[in-house]
Symmetry: C2
Subunit: 304 residues, 2 copies
Amino acid sequence: MPEFDYIAWLRSRTPADPRVPVGPGDDCAVLAPAGRPLLVTTDLLTDGTDFILAEVGPRAAGRKAMAVNLSDVAAMAGVPTAAVVAVALPRGGGRSLGEELYVGIREVADEFGVAVVGGDTNSWEGALVVTVTLLGEATARGPVLRSGAKPGDWVMLTGPVGGSIRGRHLTPTPRVREALRLHNLVDLHAMIDLSDGLAADLNHVLEESRCGAVLDAAAIPIHADAVELAKTSGKTPLAHALGDGEDFELLFTVSAADGAALLRDQPVPGVTLAKVGECVGEGLWLEEGGARRPLAPAGWVHEL
Amino acid sequence: MPEFDYIAWLRSRTPADPRVPVGPGDDCAVLAPAGRPLLVTTDLLTDGTDFILAEVGPRAAGRKAMAVNLSDVAAMAGVPTAAVVAVALPRGGGRSLGEELYVGIREVADEFGVAVVGGDTNSWEGALVVTVTLLGEATARGPVLRSGAKPGDWVMLTGPVGGSIRGRHLTPTPRVREALRLHNLVDLHAMIDLSDGLAADLNHVLEESRCGAVLDAAAIPIHADAVELAKTSGKTPLAHALGDGEDFELLFTVSAADGAALLRDQPVPGVTLAKVGECVGEGLWLEEGGARRPLAPAGWVHEL
C-alpha cells in the first residue's frame, strides 16, 4: 500500500491521450486494437546493477528504464506505442524520488510518442526497482527477427561501440527512428540491439540464424570512450569494442548489394553506418592483419 | 547478467504455442494483432510485502504474481491472452528458486490459457522481486469499467470476504470465467476486484462513477477466516470483511432487475452471488440494525 500514488499523480499532469480511452482508475489500461502484429518487451532495472541511484539520481534511472525498452522495439524495427511502469520505491525515499523517476520515464516516452498508460506503485524495505513493459506494433513490412542472417550478408552497425560504462550506458539514444528508416529502405535480414556487447549480440544473431560471421577488426568503429577506458583498463580499445555491453546501437545484416548502397549513400540522418564484417557458413571469427582467429562470444580472441 | 536464463529454460520446456510466432531469442515477443480492445495490467510483487518467501516458497510466490494480474483482467471482464515476466532473483538463491517461481507462474497461466511469451531475468543483492505484465482482450461487449455505477444499482459480490491474510491471499482464484459469464448474462454497469478491501474498492467505483452506496451489514457474506481472525484481533468479523484486502472476489453493480435475476437464478457455477448493498446519490454508508452511518473507505464506521 503506497502512501502516495505516483502514477495517478503523474497522469493527472498528463494531457488526455486519445490512445487511452479509459480513466486511470481502472484495473487495466484499455488500448485500441492493434492493426499489426503486437510487440511486447519488458526490462527490470535495479539500483546497484543497472544504475547507482546515489550517483545518478532517479531521473536518469527513469530515462534509462524507458530507453532500454525502446531499444528492444527498435531492434525489431517496430513502432513503440504504450508502456506500463511498475516500481518498488525504497521506503523513506520520499515523494520526490518517485516523482523524479517518472519525470525521466516520461521525458523519454514523450520523445518517442509512447503513452504511459498504467502501472503499479509499491514501497518496500529494499532498493529501487523499476520494471517498464513496452508495447509496440510491427510496420507493414513485419518485425525484423534475429533469425534471418545468411552467409554472404554484410554485418553492419549504426554507430561506434565500447566503453559505455563511462556514462553513455545511462543515456542511450534508442535507434527507433533509424531502424524504421532502414526497414523502409532495404530488406533487413536480421537485427539486434547491442546490450550484451558486439561479439555476444552478434553471436545471438548467428545462433538464431544458424550461420557464422567474420568481423573485420580494422572496420569496427571504436568509440572514444573505449580508447579512454583502455588507458587504464589493461585491455585494448578493440577488446572494449568487442566485449563491452550497453552500447544500444543496432547490429543488422543485409545482402551485400543493400549493404554497399547503405555504406555509399549513408541514408540515415544522425548516424554513420559501418560495415563490420560478413556472414559465413559457421563460427565466429575476427580477422586482423590478414589472420583469421576464433572470437569468443564474450569478446576475447582465441590464440590458435 | 544472470548466470542462467530461466525464461529460456522454461520456454524450452513449453510446447510451441501458435500464438507466439517467433523464437524466444528475439528482443520482443510478437503476438497476432488484437481483434478487440487490448487490456494491459502490471503488478510488481516483493518478498516481505506480498509474500514471505522463506515461509511460502517460490512456487507460491509465482502463483500469486500471475493470479493478481489475472484478477485485474477479470475485473474488466476481459479474456487474458499473454504475459511477460521480469524477475530480480536474490544472488545465491540458486537455480531452483527461479525454476520453482516459474513453475508457479506457469501453473496459473496454463489454467487460464495464458501464454508466457517473454521476460527479463536478473540477479541482484536484494530480495526477490517479480513483475508480471498481463495482456488481454475485451469481449465483443467491451471492457467493464469502474465508472458505470448508477443510483438504484444493486451492489453485488462473487463470494465471502475478510481474513484473507490467514492464507487465502496467496492462492486467490481469479474470477476470470465468472466475470465472462456475468458479462454475457447481464449488463454489468461497473466492476472491480477486491484487492484493497470491500469498503475501499467500493469507494474506488463510487469515485469513478460519481455516485454513492449503502452497504447492508447483515447481507455481507463474511468469510470463515474473518470470523477466526476476529477471535484474536480485537476487531469484529464485519470489520474484517469491510476492511481487509486481497480477497480477489469481484464487486459489481447491475440494475435492480438484473440483480434480482442473478440472486434468484445463481447462474454462475462455483460461486454464490450476494447482494451487499445499493447505489445512492452520494456518500458511502453502512446500514446496520435499521441505522445508517457513514463508512470510511478504510472500512471503519463513523459514529454519528
